[in-house]
Symmetry: C2
Subunit: 256 residues, 2 copies
DNA sequence: CCATCCTTTATCACTCTATGATAGCTCAAA
DNA sequence: TTTGAGCTATCATAGAGTGATAAAGGATGG
């Protein structure tokens, strides 16, 4: 968390969100000192910021430190009920999940991560974990790749070098060349595939959701067990996913 | 949204969260101008703030305006998985919901609102709406009252005057005296009851969750259909709710 | 009961950031 | 092209944010 140390406009506000991000990524309550350390901010500064966060409910104070706060739930609830992309995508997710019997997931990009904003299980057993809101990296995983690959005017070479090396869940280690080839494939075909990349035993196909202006709004993923998805590339699924993603993009109110 | 206009420390950070709150409360995308109007801030100031929010993913820009952003989902996810209160309360909610066949809800206070942070349905039909994260007022409703009534050293009289008049879902209008009596009752008995107050047809009992130091950490509510909950006060339910709330409070790591 | 430690909060002068009025830009629609 | 609405950039000034330091609060152990 070395950013936000530079002098810049709205520095304190940026810093506030840096603190919030650290709280979010921590899997446990953090002491003020830890927060200061991880953000790279002075303790006094951190304390002023976290107090504001707490006052507004975005941080919460406990016996053993601070965590994210309940106000985030409210904001998330508001997002879930007002986001045009999410609202428009919902029925499409349901349709493709039902038709395929697979899990349909909707991601959006937030800085250098993707966030799962909706999911529909096509299979019979609904997962009991509720991963909506999970923040995942952009690279391993089909749904993340499309953000990198389908970002127009984006230098895949530089991206590949920045990401390398990447270790997949199946043990494979990818160097810059492998990553670039992978991303080029995705860009060329308009969809990405991953098998046992982020999660062993899971295979996914994903396609970008773009608006009329070509901006990438999100990523639609369809995932299932690897053993039942051998040679997905030669099935109709990629085309289905692309079509669904296109449908969503077309239904989102034209961007300004 | 007339606050945050005063000069004060961390003004810009406070203002950022004011903007976020307006986005959250809006049921639709808001234009920059609307945001500025509702926050009472200058357009230029609003635009700088909302840009920072957008950059960090807490706001989202669409064709017809800004909404809350996807990062809130991540933070909410983090809150849900790390909040000691929520984690400790979960099994208790399940137990009391199962035992009573009613809906158990966990609220925490955020400024002058309560936020639903967890809910377990005891009945057979699970609601399909997912109201977790909903921001509700403190006064009408059992679970909100306890925050007002059980706040130690809190002037009920002043609170009652500040809140009046309140119109309940059943049409009753409460003046300051009625509100104060209601809150006094709750304080005396250690639990609050509401019948058709916020939502017609729903009756609820709630008790405060307090830590060893007497601080109110949250509110445990048990709700069901009014017609099946006549004379709840003379049943064992209030005691059950109080006991459950006490159990939760006792299991939360001692506050600092 | 006191002493010690750890964590959090208050204080304060200086610098640099946030502010807001204005002007300029972008993009549709007329 | 002109018009308009919405958003962004510019800039001087004021005053908020910063961080070093010190103090206060609370727990723990002797």
């Amino acid at each position: 968390m070395a950013t936000a140390n530079t002098n810049s406009p709205m520095r304190s506000v940026h810093r506030a969100f840096e603190v919030l991000k650290v709280l979010e990524l921590a899997q446990q309550p953090l002491r003020l000192t830890d927060l200061a350390q991880r953000t790279g901010l002075h303790v006094a500064t951190t304390q002023r910021l976290v107090n504001v966060l707490t006052e507004h409910g975005y941080a919460s104070r406990h016996a053993n430190g601070y965590t994210a706060g309940p106000a985030a739930l409210s904001t998330a609830h508001a997002f879930a009920t007002t986001s045009p992309l999410r609202l428009v995508a919902r029925p499409v997710l349901e349709e493709i999940a039902t038709a395929s019997g697979l899990t349909a997931s909707l991601y959006v990009r937030v800085q250098d991560n993707r966030v799962l904003i909706d999911r529909v299980e096509g299979g019979q057993r609904p997962h009991y974990s509720l991963p909506i809101g999970e923040r995942l990296p952009l690279y391993p995983g089909a749904a993340g790749k499309v953000f990198l690959a389908c970002d127009p005017g984006h230098d895949l070479d530089a991206t590949a070098r920045r990401l390398q090396p990447v270790t997949l869940a199946n043990g494979t280690v990818l160097d810059a060349t492998a990553i670039r080839t992978d991303l080029e494939d995705a860009r060329e075909h308009g969809f990405a595939v991953s098998a046992d990349e982020r999660q062993f035993g899971t295979t996914a196909i994903a396609a970008p959701i773009t608006d009329a202006a070509g901006r990438t709004l999100g990523s639609l993923g369809l995932s299932g067990a690897t053993h039942s998805l051998r040679d997905v590339q030669s099935t109709a699924l990629p085309a289905d996913v692309r079509r669904a993603a296109h449908t969503i993009g077309a239904r989102v109110p034209a961007a300004g």
